[in-house]
């Protein structure tokens, strides 16, 4: 049986040749992302903005009348409503800001939601109410601060771990790659004004975990090669490490992608944001482990002195068998 090989056995792609332009592009993207976040802002969902949110499914039609709904709900006099598609063209979420005095009167907020539902029920047929949610300003504020805190802690926590397990340069590299991934995901949500909710924070935390997977696999190989080939110039060594792990990187990203795609295409509408963010993070994360996490080691000046070479039992036997005194790089000689 002939097995599928996605990546040829001996790739020797010169990844790091282009490290400067790629790095520049990444920096630009990070700046652009933050600019978008600052200027356009994130389109906060009810979790972070607070207010009353009603979710409706228009059954039997393909496209919910978004503009029309916006106008009608605005007529209720609760300020400008936010009406948007919610994971599918015929599902909408409608959010209205809550008046100041509502939060202290029990039931008043839901009443507003019910008003919106009643209005729409009277105007359209076959509308299914999926949810009616209140988030008070206080809770929304807590969500915002705890979300920011969780992201910061997660990034710092994993960077610390990598620092302990590897070297400080690796920790900085991983942290920067993570910062890049998180920034680009946020930027994308800002540019396209996709709804930014608690689910997206969950997705970003998952991205932090999985993007690091790649980074760690590459770093692990770099560490190993640093011990093995003490004389090899660093850029060459990094290229070698990335090439050696390329097959695995491609394969794992692919299995994750084929698992996520059905969820994106056929999955529940309310999970769309979360799955979409993770899918974006998958691409961005794979790129950053190769093009950011690795080259940073060159600029931060990693050397092999701290990694005491430890030959495995198998290595020693192999060397004896070959009758060599010193291990040699197995990279192709150009």
């Amino acid at each position: 049986m002939k097995l599928l090989k996605l990546v040829p056995a001996d790739t020797n792609i010169k990844f790091l040749k282009l490290r400067v332009p790629f790095f520049a592009i990444s920096m630009l993207l990070i700046v652009a992302s933050w600019t978008a976040v600052m200027t356009q802002g994130l389109n906060y969902g009810v979790d972070f903005a607070g207010g009353q949110e009603v979710q409706l499914t228009f059954e039997g039609i393909d496209q919910a009348p978004v503009a029309d709904l916006r106008e009608k709900v605005a007529g209720l006099g609760y300020g400008t409503p936010v009406v948007q598609e919610f994971g599918a063209p015929n599902i909408v979420s409608i959010r209205v800001p809550l008046p100041e005095d509502v939060e202290s009167t029990p039931g008043a907020a839901t009443e507003i939601g019910n008003e919106v539902i009643a209005l729409i029920d009277s105007q359209y047929e076959n509308v299914r109410t999926d949810g009616n949610n209140t988030v008070s300003g206080k809770v929304a504020e807590e969500f915002r601060s705890s979300a920011a805190l969780a992201l910061a802690l997660a990034m710092i926590g994993v960077a610390m771990y990598i620092w302990i397990r590897f070297e400080w340069q690796f920790g900085v590299g991983a942290l920067f790659a993570l910062f890049h991934d998180v920034s680009l995901t946020l930027g994308l949500f800002a540019v396209f004004q996709l709804e930014f909710s608690l689910q997206i924070i969950a997705a970003i935390l998952a991205i932090i975990g999985y993007s690091l997977n790649d980074t760690i696999v590459v770093y692990d190989r770099i560490r190993e090669n640093l011990k093995k080939f003490r004389k090899m110039p660093l850029p060459e060594l990094l290229d070698l490490s990335v090439n050696e792990t390329l097959a695995r990187t491609v394969m794992t990203s692919l299995t994750l992608l084929v698992a996520l795609l059905p969820l994106l295409l056929f999955g529940p509408a309310s999970l769309f944001g979360l799955v979409f963010a993770i899918t974006v993070g998958l691409f961005v994360g794979t790129y950053s482990s190769v093009y950011l996490a690795a080259p940073i080691l060159i600029w931060l000046g990693v050397n092999s002195d701290s990694f005491v070479p430890q030959e495995t039992e198998a290595d020693i036997q192999e060397r004896k068998a070959r009758g060599e005194g010193q291990a040699r790089p197995a990279s192709p000689i150009e």
Binding site: Q55, A150, A206, R221
Partner: protein
């Protein structure tokens, strides 16, 4: 590599099968079949976003608890000073800045006063609840200690949670979950409840019922301006009552709290045809109510609920049967609600709803169906990819993946955790990432073979070298998943739970389990070449 002692095999299979078996009841139920009653049935709970229902987050004002406590202390101090032999006269009482301070009329009483008050400063279990200070030899200042306030808030929340539970049980809803969260919050989850309106009305009442004598000496103009005579306080009439918009002055002391009730039922007064609530006092409450009404015949007394006056009827005759009737523009529903609230006791502190989420059951069912479909397609795609790429080793990875999903579900069922909508995404992520460990191992074995290692050495090295990266990667994943669990609530926490358990089952099924299978096959067949 090839030596797998029997005990190790038994242990690995034991863990795998036990965990996987626990997933069966959940699978049975999901498939619509009935799990036999005779067998134990650990099942995964469905979160509200999948089952449909209402989630409320209630918050108590901690300041309210502190204020209430200060008021009680004031009462207690007055009482203690009055009951001292001879009586200690005090004046200029103030409760500003959350502290109680008062002057002694006679400075020589200071030591006696201290002796009486000192025991009151100490709570139970040796926590000092108040600090007592004497200023200028004649003024005493009582300040609550931080730990005292904390204890009080905690006690209030404990009993508030209990009251909330009792009230919800009275509504007869299905399996509500009521949990305290943090210092001052209560989470209420009621599956299958599409309209939480009634529930919220019920929880919105603190149901502090008080009977207080009306202060008939108060000037009406002053009362409406909100100026209370000494020893009295002013309460507004409740919405919908006969004198809505007006206020009334009542005597601070000598009233009765409604916390001495043994029963409350909604009914209709046969004479007036009004909706009323009939209450029954316990023995002590009944006696006090009897005394109060006997001493004040032909005077009005106010029935006050949650600091609003329902009505202020005249006392026509002493009421000594231990029961009384409350009227005040109720309809059948509100009378019933009040009866429930009174029966289940007063909330020691008012609660407000600060977050509420309601999901329809249809949406939940829809989500489960779509989620399962996506999971199935995703799994099949991953399996095809793995077998096409790694052949026999891909088959091992696939079997490991099936066990992985079963174990994950089984452990969740055993731990009685809740599956939420994001949790389904967690399952899919776990399926996508679980094979990563096998990919790492298989790629290593490929490399080792390329370098010319013998089969067994290549496999052994592949496992060993890959383990390092696998553990490192999973530990960092674990760190971020834990933070997700700490920070998130409800659905998000469900996502974190799946990810965390999934990390463990993935590593377990990918490393020792496949290794055992591979070792068995190598030992049996001793292949000279492997196709990885």
């Amino acid at each position: 590599m090839l030596d797998f002692p029997l005990w190790k095999k038994i242990m690995l299979w034991g863990i795998t099968l036990t965990a996987a078996l626990m997933a069966l009841p959940s699978l049975f139920n999901a498939g619509g079949a009935d799990w036999p009653d005779a067998l134990p049935e650990p099942t995964v709970n469905l979160g509200l976003d999948l089952a449909g229902g209402s989630h409320l987050l209630l918050e108590a004002e901690a300041e309210e608890v502190a204020a209430q406590r200060l008021q009680n202390m004031e009462e207690a101090v007055r009482q203690a000073m009055r009951n001292a032999e001879p009586r200690i006269r005090i004046g200029d009482i103030s409760t500003a800045d959350g502290r109680l301070s008062f002057m002694l009329s006679d400075a020589s009483d200071i030591d006696r006063a201290r002796g009486i008050l000192e025991p009151m400063m100490q709570g139970q279990n040796l926590v000092r609840e108040w600090d007592l200070e004497v200023v200028d030899g004649q003024r005493m200042v009582l300040a609550p200690t931080a730990s005292g306030t904390e204890t009080a808030v905690n006690d209030a929340m404990e009993s508030a949670t209990e009251v909330v539970r009792r009230r919800i049980d009275e509504l007869g809803t299905r399996e509500p979950t009521i949990i305290r969260q943090g210092a001052t919050r209560i989470v209420v989850q009621v599956p299958g409840l599409d309209d939480p309106e009634a529930l919220k009305e019920l929880l919105g009442q603190t149901a502090q019922l008080e009977f207080k004598l009306v202060d008939q000496n108060a000037l009406p103009t002053n009362v409406q301006a909100g100026i209370a005579p000494p020893g009295s306080q002013i309460f507004p009439y409740a919405e919908g009552s006969d004198f809505e918009g007006q206020s009334i002055a009542v005597r601070r002391l000598g009233g009765i709290r409604g916390d001495r009730l043994t029963g409350a039922t909604a009914g209709v007064d046969p004479q007036t045809n009004e909706n009323v609530v009939n209450i029954q006092f316990d023995v002590q409450g009944g006696t006090r109510f009897c005394t109060l009404t006997r001493q004040n015949v032909n005077k009005p007394f106010a029935i006050i609920l949650d600091e609003e006056v329902l009505s202020a009827p005249n006392i026509n005759e002493p009421i000594c049967g231990g029961s009384a009737q409350i009227s005040g523009s109720f309809n059948a529903d509100s009378a019933n609600n009040l009866a429930i609230s009174l029966r289940s006791g007063a909330l020691p502190v008012p609660l407000t709803v600060i977050e509420e989420r309601t999901v329809s059951a249809e949406l939940g069912a829809d989500s489960i169906q779509r989620g399962l479909l996506a999971m199935l397609i995703g799994s099949i795609a991953v399996i095809v990819l793995m077998i096409a790429t790694y052949g026999r080793f891909g088959v091992y990875a696939t079997i490991a993946l099936v066990f992985n999903v079963l174990m994950l579900l089984g452990i969740m069922a055993f731990a009685n955790s809740t599956l939420t909508l994001p949790g389904i995404a967690g399952f899919v992520l776990t399926i996508g990432a679980a094979v990563d460990a096998n990919v790492l191992i298989n790629e290593r074995i490929r490399e080792e073979r390329k370098r010319g290692r013998r089969v067994i050495a290549a496999v052994e090295n592949g496992y060993k070298e890959a383990s390092r990266a696998i553990y490192d990667a999973n530990i960092t994943n674990f760190i971020s998943a834990c933070l997700l669990g700490f920070f998130g609530s409800g659905p998000i926490r469900g996502f974190a739970v799946v990810l965390i358990i999934g990390l463990f089952t993935s590593v377990f099924t990918a490393l020792p389990l496949t290794r055992m299978w591979v070792a068995g096959w190598l030992r049996k067949n001793r292949p000279n070449d492997i196709n990885v």
